[in-house]
């Protein structure tokens, strides 16, 4: 099986007069070492799909379908959607890490970043303070934070947006997950920094064999980073395939519209 298999995922929220469907029968799989792009506009259901994987939806949401994560040797494959809290907590971080869009709010402003990464490390492994600190340095080096050792005692406000995003990726990798869910990880960043973070994700895939589900509204980012892509519209996946194929010959009218709307340089005769 693939590393992660989402099958017939449905998410609905209660509203006056019934349930409003937000995700309607989404099936998607992610292989080992694969970077899959999940694209769509605001409200298309792409973030909810990712949150479902880790049972991070608000409690009032109604969820159906199944999400299976390939088991590690000696463990049993089970349905993440049906997993009890105790079990899903072993999956969060340890098997699947998550990175959010806003690097400025995802860190706690009152603690040094080294401490916050150490917290993520110690949540999963019993390490002494000193060992944890060394592990934090290793992780920050892994995400290529310049001068990692010197930055341990810095507070989040002392780091730039790109550096904060690197710290958050380091936290997501703290327990050595197989899959990273990255929800618009570069949307808040400048383009030269975005290029660095995308490069980092690719190098983690090559170096660690990490799989990545990259959620974005930016088709250009998908074109440059992903192997496969799925296009979401109004809660459904309307098209899925290899990135080259989808860009060369989009089959769904919505994908065609979306591709036509991508601002591109060189769009004007000069």
């Amino acid at each position: 099986m693939a590393l992660l298999e989402i099958d017939g995922l449905e998410v609905a929220f209660p509203a006056a007069g019934g349930w409003v469907p937000a995700v309607r029968g989404v099936s998607l799989s992610i292989g080992r070492g694969e970077i899959v792009g999940l694209v769509g506009e605001s409200g298309s259901g792409k973030s909810l799909t990712a949150l479902s994987v880790l049972q991070l939806l608000p409690p009032r949401a109604r969820v159906a379908g199944s999400i299976r994560l390939e088991a590690r040797p000696g463990e049993e494959t089970s349905d993440l959607l049906a997993a009890p809290e105790r079990e899903i907590r072993r999956v969060r971080g340890r098997r699947i890490g998550i990175v959010f869009q806003e690097p400025s709010t995802a860190l706690d402003p009152v603690w040094p970043v080294g401490f916050q990464v150490a917290e993520a490390v110690r949540a999963h492994r019993k390490l002494s303070r000193r060992e944890a600190r060394e592990e934090v340095v290793r992780l920050l080096d892994l995400v290529a934070l310049a001068d990692a050792r010197r930055r341990l005692d810095d507070y989040p406000h002392q780091l730039s947006g790109g550096q904060r995003q690197r710290v958050l990726i380091a936290m997501a990798l703290a327990a050595g997950p197989d899959l990273l869910l990255a929800d618009e990880p570069t949307t808040a960043l400048d383009v030269t920094i975005q290029a660095q973070i995308l490069e980092l994700l690719e190098s983690l895939r090559t170096g660690l064999g990490l799989s990545v589900l990259l959620i974005t509204h930016d088709l250009a980012v998908v074109a440059e980073t992903c192997d496969r892509m799925a296009v979401m519209h109004a809660g459904r996946i309307v098209e899925e395939g290899k990135v080259e194929d989808v860009f060369r010959a989009p089959s769904h009218p919505y994908t065609r519209q979306l591709l036509a709307a991508v601002p591109r340089l060189g769009g004007l005769p000069s």
Binding site: D190, V191, T192, E224, R264, L265, G266
Partner: protein
């Protein structure tokens, strides 16, 4: 050549860095460091650069929303920095600003009609109520909103509609220059195109000059006649649009254009990824501000600061034009 509408020379802005309860001054950040720029009548000049490069500060100094530390700002030949508050206010109707965040820039308790009419009360106080209401409806029409909008509240409007209201407010005083600070950044991708079209259209119809602050290169390519690129408080390159996109001279511009993701699978290997981050303006590097990240930096670059040089296409680099993007032409690859 005729006199530029807006002319900025040797503009510098220092911000004090304060710390603690007593606000002791620890030093200064030079946010803008010797910027020369001009905007001609009816021209669109785009000022691009990344966060912290000083582009917004230049715009704010140009409108005297913040006081520059040094330099001069002339509007239609008149020194804006020499004007008193009252005169400045009278002059302000000739240059207006459109802000980035259409959510934060409208008063939530003010109906749209009143928001658009307010600048008229200030600048054209002689107008009767009825005439003002008529002007408001006209202005809404100009930005593509129906007259019924006057009775609406900001929260009832979408982001795109709010930005149209923001533009209508800026137009109310009948300006000759519009300064738009990231006017589409807060909007959904599909709405951005509409607002850019509107700005393009207004420029042609009303003969407006536009100083566009942006980091979205695709938007810039669409609207600008000329483009100025800022890095760490300085202008590193200025050129007519087509020249800048087809043959950027400064290594930073080359890298910036190369970093813009393209919807072209298979291009990924040709991207230039700059190392590091822009240095802190608190401690700018000696010599060329870009040299610590520059792929073609040589010893001279860390010793001397290159001046902005050239005729029509200016670049502040000793080795301008030596760096090209892998994969050749950065723009118009499909043209």
């Amino acid at each position: 050549m005729t006199q530029p509408l807006l002319e900025i020379e040797g503009l510098r802005k220092d911000f004090p860095v304060r710390r603690g309860l007593l606000g002791r001054t620890l030093g200064t950040v030079r946010a803008v460091d010797g910027v020369d720029l001009s905007v001609r009548r009816g021209e669109c000049l785009a000022l691009v650069g990344e966060s912290g490069s000083g582009k917004t500060t230049v715009a704010r100094c140009a409108l005297r929303l913040v006081e520059p530390t040094a330099g001069s700002v002339r509007f239609d030949g008149e020194d804006l920095l020499a004007l008193g508050t009252r005169e400045l206010r009278r002059r302000r109707r000739r240059f207006q600003m459109v802000f980035q965040d259409p959510y934060g820039s409208l008063n939530p308790r003010q109906r749209i009609g009143s928001a658009v009419g307010e600048p008229l009360e200030v600048h054209e106080s002689a107008l009767s109520r009825a005439a003002r209401a008529e002007r408001v409806r006209e202005l809404l029409g100009t930005v593509g909103l129906p007259p019924e909008m006057t009775a609406r509240w900001p929260h009832e409007l979408s982001g795109g509609q709010r930005q149209r209201v923001g533009i209508a407010r800026a137009l109310a005083a009948g300006p000759e220059l519009l300064v738009a600070d990231e006017p589409v950044t807060a909007l959904d991708v599909s709405i951005r195109g509409q607002i850019l079209s509107l700005l393009e259209d207004l420029r042609q119809r009303l003969g407006l000059a536009l100083l566009l602050i942006a980091h979205d290169m695709a938007a810039v390519e669409r609207l600008a006649d000329r483009v100025a690129v800022m890095y760490l408080g300085r202008i590193v390159e200025v050129a007519p649009r087509s020249a800048l996109f087809s043959r950027p001279l400064h290594p930073y511009t080359v890298s910036l254009l190369s970093a813009v993701p393209r919807p072209e699978p298979g291009r990924r290997r040709s991207r230039i990824v700059l190392g590091g981050e822009p240095p802190s303006p608190l401690a700018p590097p000696p010599g060329c501000p870009f040299h610590p990240r520059c792929p073609i930096a040589r010893p001279r670059c860390s010793e001397e600061t290159p001046p902005l040089a050239g005729e029509d296409h200016l670049a502040a680099c000793f080795y301008a034009g030596e760096m090209t993007a892998p994969g050749g032409n950065l723009s118009g690859a499909r043209a």
